[in-house]
C-alpha cells in the first residue's frame, strides 16, 4: 500500500547510491595531479592588476616562465629560464645567460628579445597594463618606471640568449631576483608584438595564453577549476603527469580532501596547522616539519591614528610574544623583533626584549595617553591572536577594541584612517628588504607617512653590494624601525607540511614563494 510506495522509494534511493559507488573508479591510465586552492585566480594576465594575489602568481608560474626558481625562503636560487647570471660593471648591470632550449607552447624558441619585449611593454608610456612591476629600477626610466626614451632603456638583448639589465644603482642580481622574479614573466613577442600597448588588455591572447612555462592551459570553470596539461616544449624535464587540475575549495575542507586523496597538494605548500597535525597523522598522512619558518605576522599601525611614537612603543612593550607564539604556532615559531628571519645574516639578536608592562605604562604616562580606545581590525581567522593582544594591552592600560573585517576592508580602512591597528601576515624571504616589497614607500597600502630617513636607508641598502656593509646597514635600519614602531613584528612561524604519498619531488618551501617545480613532479 502506501508503505509499499515508500519502501519502493527507499529502494530506489539505495540502488542509486550503490550505482554511484561503482561509477567512481574508472581505472584511468591518465596521471592526474589535483591541487586545492582556497581562493580563485583572476584573469590570465599577470599584469592585469597591480595587486595580484599569491594564488594568482602561483597560477601564472605554471603557464609562464620565469628567470629562476627560488626555494627555501630565498636561500636557494636555481636556474629556470636562465642558466646562469652574473653582475657586471660594478653592480650596475646584471647579465643573464638564457637556456637555448626554452620554448613557447607553440614550438617557437624563447629568446632574449622576448624578455626585452616584455620589459619594454611594461615600461611603455602607452601601456594599458596596471603595473610596471620592476621597470623603475632599470636605467632610462622615470621614478614610476616609464621609459624616458627608447634607446636609453636598461633592458637589452646582447645576443639571442643573453639578456642584460642595466640598473639605476648598483644592485646585487640575487637581490633583484628575490625581489622581482616571481612577477617577471616573459611574454611572446611573436604573438603580442603587433598589438598596440594601449590596447594590450583587450587582446584575445589572455583568454588562451601561449606561455613558455611548464604547463599549457586546457580549460577552466571560472572561479572553480582550472585544467592544465604539460608543455611538451618545456626545456626542463623529470615529470610524468598528464593533467594538473587546480580546484578552488573552501579552507574548511582542506584536511578532509587531503585525507581522502581527492587532492594531492594544497596551494602554497600543503601546510596544516599544529592543531590539525594529530588528526592528519591519525589518518595516515605523512606530516613533516617545515624546513623554513618564514611566515611573518605583524601588527600594522596607522601613524595618523597613533602619531606619538612613545605610545606605539608602549604597545610593543606590552605584548607577551611567547603567549602569542604558543597560540599561533606552538613549537614551530619564534617571536620576532625585526623583520629579518633568524637564519639570515641580517638577524639582530640585540633587538630582542622581554615583555615589560611597567615600561609600557611609563611610556604611556610620558606621552600623556588619555585612555582613548583604539580599534584593531583583522580577519576572522586571526581572532585568537587579536584577543590575546587586546588583553595584554589592557593589562598595560591601553584600550583596544576589536573589529572583524575581511582583508580588503582592513587594508583600505587602515589607509583611510578608520582603523588604528591591523593584523597582517606575509611570507618572508632572504631578500634583505623583503618587507619593503610588501609596503614600499610610495605604495598605497602604506599606513605611515613618508619618511626621508627610511627612504635613505632603503636606497642605501639596495645600492650596497658589499655583504658586510649591507649587514651593518640592515641592522641599523631595523633598529631605526624598532624606534619608530610603525609596525610591531609578532612572530615567525613555520608550518607542518603534508608530504604527498602519490606525487614525489614536490618542493613545499618553493611553493610558498609562488613557484612550483611542476616539471619535476612524478606520480608514483
Amino acid at each position: 500500500m502506501l508503505h509499499r510506495k515508500l519502501s519502493a522509494l527507499c529502494l530506489a534511493l539505495a540502488l542509486s547510491l550503490t550505482l554511484t559507488a561503482c561509477g567512481g573508479d574508472s581505472g584511468d591510465a591518465e596521471k592526474v595531479i589535483n591541487m586545492a586552492y582556497t581562493t580563485a585566480w583572476g584573469s590570465f594576465n599577470p599584469y592585469y592588476s597591480a595587486s595580484t594575489t599569491m594564488y594568482e602568481l602561483s597560477l601564472y608560474d605554471k603557464v609562464y616562465d620565469k628567470l629562476v626558481f627560488t626555494d627555501m625562503a630565498g636561500a636557494v636560487i636555481r636556474p629556470r629560464a636562465a642558466d646562469s647570471w652574473e653582475s657586471a660593471a660594478g653592480g650596475l648591470e646584471a647579465v643573464f645567460h638564457l637556456n637555448p632550449e626554452a620554448s613557447w607552447s607553440d614550438g617557437e624558441r624563447v629568446t632574449a628579445r622576448d624578455w626585452v619585449f616584455t620589459a619594454r611593454l611594461l615600461a611603455d608610456p602607452l601601456s594599458a597594463f596596471s603595473t610596471r612591476v620592476f621597470t623603475h629600477v632599470l636605467a632610462g626610466t622615470n621614478p614610476d618606471g616609464v621609459m624616458t626614451g627608447p634607446d636609453a632603456f636598461g633592458a637589452e638583448a646582447l645576443d639571442d640568449y643573453t639578456l642584460k639589465l642595466t640598473f639605476k644603482e648598483p644592485t646585487d642580481p640575487d637581490d633583484f631576483l628575490l625581489h622581482y622574479n616571481r612577477k617577471f614573466l616573459v611574454l611572446p613577442e611573436h604573438i603580442l608584438g603587433g598589438v598596440a600597448p594601449a590596447e594590450i588588455l583587450q587582446s584575445k591572447f589572455w583568454r588562451t595564453p601561449t606561455g613558455s612555462g611548464p604547463c599549457i592551459y586546457v580549460s577552466q570553470m571560472t572561479g572553480s577549476e582550472m585544467v592544465l596539461a604539460p608543455n611538451p616544449h618545456y626545456h626542463l624535464h623529470g615529470g610524468n603527469w598528464d593533467k594538473l587540475v587546480l580546484r578552488v575549495l573552501d579552507s574548511a575542507s582542506r584536511l578532509t580532501v587531503l585525507m581522502s586523496g581527492e587532492v594531492d597538494q594544497i596551494e602554497l605548500g600543503s601546510s596544516i596547522s599544529p592543531d590539525d597535525k594529530p588528526t592528519a597523522e591519525a589518518n595516515g598522512l605523512d606530516v613533516r616539519d617545515g624546513e623554513v619558518q618564514s611566515f611573518f605576522m605583524e601588527v600594522l599601525i596607522n601613524e595618523s591614528g597613533i602619531p606619538d611614537e612613545r605610545i606605539r612603543q608602549a604597545l610593543h612593550y606590552a605584548i607577551d610574544k611567547d603567549a602569542i607564539v604558543e597560540a599561533a604556532a606552538k613549537d614551530v615559531g619564534y617571536p620576532a623583533y625585526g623583520y629579518e628571519m633568524r637564519n639570515t645574516d641580517y638577524y639582530d639578536p640585540s633587538l630582542e626584549f622581554p615583555r615589560d608592562v611597567e615600561r609600557a605604562k611609563a611610556l604611556l604616562k610620558e606621552a600623556g595617553y588619555d585612555g582613548r580606545p583604539y580599534t584593531i581590525a583583522f580577519a576572522s581567522k586571526r581572532e585568537n591572536i587579536a584577543a590575546l593582544l587586546t588583553q595584554q594591552w589592557k593589562e598595560a592600560g591601553i584600550n583596544v577594541e576589536m573589529v572583524i573585517v575581511d582583508v580588503a576592508t582592513m587594508f583600505s580602512g587602515l589607509t583611510s584612517g578608520i582603523y588604528d591597528l591591523g593584523l597582517s601576515g606575509h611570507s618572508a624571504t632572504a631578500y634583505s628588504l623583503w618587507f619593503e616589497t610588501e609596503f614600499p614607500a610610495n605604495s598605497t597600502n602604506v599606513t605611515f607617512s613618508s619618511d626621508p630617513v627610511r627612504d635613505s636607508y632603503v636606497d642605501r641598502i639596495s645600492a650596497t653590494i658589499d655583504k658586510e656593509e649591507k649587514i651593518a646597514l640592515v641592522k641599523e635600519y631595523q633598529k631605526y624601525l624598532a624606534d619608530k614602531t610603525w609596525y610591531i613584528p609578532l612572530y615567525f612561524a613555520g608550518e607542518y607540511w603534508v608530504k604527498s604519498a602519490r606525487v614525489s619531488n614536490i618542493c613545499n618551501a618553493a611553493s610558498l614563494m609562488c613557484n612550483d617545480n611542476v616539471w619535476e613532479w612524478y606520480v608514483n
Binding site: 561509477g23 574508472s26 578532509t256 597600502n445
Partner: protein
Amino acid sequence: MARYLYERVLSALLTMFFITAILYVLLASIQGSALDVMGGSGGETAAEYESARQALGLDLPLWLRYAHWLRDVLRGDLGMSYRYGIPVAEVIGQRFWPSVLLIGTGVSFAVLLGVPVGLLAAYRPRSVWDRLSSFFALTGFAVPRFITCIAFIYIFSFKLRLVPATGMHSSGVVSFGDLVSHLILPASTITFGAVGYLIQQTRSACLDVFHEDYLKTARAKGLSELEVVLKHGLRTALAPILTQLMVEMPEIVGFAAIAEKIFGWPGIGSLMIEAIRNRDIPLTMGVTLVIATLVLCVNILLDIAYGLLDPRVRYR
C-alpha cells in the same frame, strides 16, 4: 489575463530598477574596493593604483557608474567582471547549470520524500509516522545550514568513505556515475533542509481531507484507501506545496550557496558570495539580476498556474 500579465511584468521591471539602483549604491559603499582585496602582497605604487582604478571606472561618480551599468544591461551586456576580466555573462553561464542541477536534484528529492511522508502523517495522525515526520522535519530546519553540511561530510565522506567530499567531478573522469557520487552529498543537505516545511505543508493541507467522515463518504463511493489518499490528498496538497516551494525557493537558493561553498560545488550561490568578497560589483549585480529575474518569472508562472487550477483565487 493578458492585461494582468502585462501589469505584473511592468511592475516587476519597475521594482527591479529600484532594487538594482539601491543594490548598486549599497555595493559601492562597502568599505574597500576590488583593488584592495589582496592588498599588501603587491605593494603597488600610487600611480599604479590610480591607473587601475581608472581602468575599472572606479574613479567616476556613483550615479554615473550606475547609469553606465544600466545602459549596458538594457543593451544586453552585463559588463566585465572586475576580478576575472572576462564578461560577466560568461562567468555566470559557466556556473549556472551546476546550481540548477544541485537545487533541482535536492528539491526533487525533498518533494519525493516529503510529500509521501506528509501524506502518511496526515493519514495516520498521532501515529509513529506522524511523530517521526514531525521530528525529522523539525531537525531539518532547526539545524544551522553549515552544520548540516559539515556533519554530512564528516559522516559520509570522512568516516564512512562512501562518497567524495568536494567538487563536481573527479579530475580526468567524465561519467554519469562520478557526477552522481559527487552530487549526492550536497543534494542531500539541500533535501534535508527543504523537506521539513514540505512535510508540514502537506500534512496540514491533507489533515482535512482525511477527516473521518470525508473518508467514509469516499469509501462508500467504492474508492480504495490508496485512491482516496492519492487522488484527494495530492490534489488538495498540490496548490499549497507549489506555493510553499515558491516561497521557499529563495531560501533554498541561499542555503544552496552555503552548501556550494562548503562542498566546493561550482554554482551560482558560491559565485555570489565570492563576488561580494571580492567587491566585484558587475559580477554581483549580474548574479543578483539573474537570480531575481528567475524567481520573479517562476512566481508569475506559478501565479498563472495557480489561477488556472483554482478560479476562486485571483488577485483582482
